[in-house]
């Protein structure tokens, strides 16, 4: 009999089953911490969770009330920083991946990008303080904080964009060059349209990073408290300081005595919720763009 199950085959099948379940268990265990964290936070934050918390301003020396000014401030910082780092990062990545020859200068650029991606955020903070607050004379301001966040997110955006560009097969480029297309015509017609999902995902993931970091903005433009009208969408000028969620959470948990216990937890829930929302957007967007993928 050709397809008989020998003991050897049976043993192999058993190993296969065990391996599959062990690997599945490891992967599934990733859900546990996330569920626990969210469950714990929501439970502690429950008394404060309401729409009012979102749109109210802090009251009674930040002991009560909502987080509106911090929420708006975070949006300001994230939008401004990515408005700088996304275009610069994408264009730099296009240069490095599509144009750069392998010479010492481009190797230095590559090295710089890789190393910048590994610099801790506190170092970015000190750099931002020196470069933007003092040297460029932007002072403690939204501009300085956004630029610092931009410097922090830039190398990661470059790296993720390069990866997306590199995933477009070289044969497509060669086919374009063969018919007399310039590099730019090739990039425009074939490379960018087919890497855009990866590029956008990389950028969106940096939104949550920019929103979550405390150190870079604490040194350059975020403040503990700023009086803001409830529901005011444009409370800040760019050369002023602003509040931010990550900073607010830090302040509430360490600097404000007698704060209602559920308030910092509610802030954390909001921050986490925003991150999950942004990441989910990235996944959906990627799925949508992938579905239109062309090969």
């Amino acid at each position: 009999m050709m397809f008989a199950i020998t003991p050897h085959v049976r043993r192999k099948q058993r190993h296969e089953t065990i391996a599959k379940w062990v690997f599945f268990g490891m992967a599934a265990s990733m859900i546990v911490p996330l569920v626990l964290i969210i469950g714990y936070l929501v439970e502690r934050a429950w008394p404060s969770l309401s729409l009012g918390f979102l749109i109210d301003v802090p009251a009674r020396g930040m002991k009560e009330g909502g987080v509106w000014p911090a929420l708006v401030g975070t949006i300001y910082l994230v939008v401004l920083s990515l408005a700088v780092s996304a275009p610069v990062g994408v264009l730099a990545a296009v240069y490095l991946n599509e144009y750069a020859r392998d010479n010492w200068f481009n190797r230095i650029i590559n090295l710089a990008v890789i190393n910048l991606a590994g610099v801790p955020s506190i170092v970015h903070a000190l750099f931002g303080l020196g470069a933007f607050v003092y040297a460029a004379r932007f002072g403690y301001s939204i501009i300085s904080a956004s630029l610092t966040l931009a410097i922090m997110t830039l190398p990661v955006i470059i790296a993720s964009t390069r990866e997306a560009l590199a995933s477009v097969p070289r044969t497509f480029r060669e086919a374009c060059w063969n018919v007399g297309a310039t590099r730019w015509q090739t990039i425009k017609a074939v490379v960018l349209p087919n890497s855009i999902s990866g590029i956008l995902t990389g950028i969106i993931l940096q939104v949550s990073r920019a929103a979550g970091e405390t150190a870079p903005i604490m040194f350059t433009g975020a403040v503990f408290f700023k009086a803001v009208q409830k529901g005011d969408f444009f409370p800040y000028r760019l050369h002023e300081q602003c509040m931010a969620l990550s900073m607010h959470l830090y302040t509430l948990s360490t600097q404000v005595p007698g704060v209602k216990e559920s308030v910092p937890f509610a802030t954390a829930v909001l921050l986490l919720g925003a991150v999950i929302l942004v990441n989910a957007t990235a996944i959906i967007l990627r799925g949508y763009l992938r579905a239109r993928k062309k090969w």
Binding site: T171, F172, A175, C176, W177, N178, V179, Q185, K293
Partner: protein
Amino acid sequence: MTCTPTIAVRDLRLAYGQKEAIRGISFEILRNEIFGIIGPAQSGKTSLLHCLNRTIDFTPEARVSGSIRVDGEDVRQTRNIFALRRKIGMVAPLPVGLPLSIYDNVAFAPRCAGMRRRSELEAIVEQCLRQAALWDEVKDRLDSLGTKLSGGQQQRLTIARALSHQPEILCLDEFSIAIDPVTTMRIEDVLKELRRSMTIILVTNLTQQARRLADRTLFLWKGRIVELDHTDIIFSGKPANRQTYEYVNGIFG
């Protein structure tokens, strides 16, 4: 067939880093002839074509010396390599449908050259797809993706794209490895038709294909020319060189 050379190669050498791929070859290709190039794997056939349309520029470690003149102009000195590449249609061995619609695949090159008029583009698309023996199969779905065609259809799409910039010289690098014999024959008929208006360089591993189509055949081996002569003589059983005889008769050691 007139006897003016359209391509003149003089002492061409090419090395990838330390590795020599072409070791000093000289020959001429005449206008409106079908010029066959045969030779075993790694003999430098594809590399030669890359030198011809300067796509060798995209391989940084490649070093070229010698000269290739196309209609008197040295391609290694030319200012406008995009015009050069448009003058030379190139069909790579593996079919590449660009991730664009079938229409855009063919209209891509004319658009890159600056053509914008819809009527002109449509005329070119239809003409090239007809020449590549693909029109009847795709005329009702020109806006579907080129990458979703079958391998053989994509190869004909590649040929249509190579014709779309109205080249004077058409290079085919083992064009038939992805297509069935019937389609191959149809394209071979197309080539016989096209030679009236252009020069064709046919690189092939199927020596019989060179025998069927080529006016003259060049046998390349390890980056050197073993023999270049009229196809009849190469396949006559009495070529000047014994290696040629052995190769075309499949007793190459």
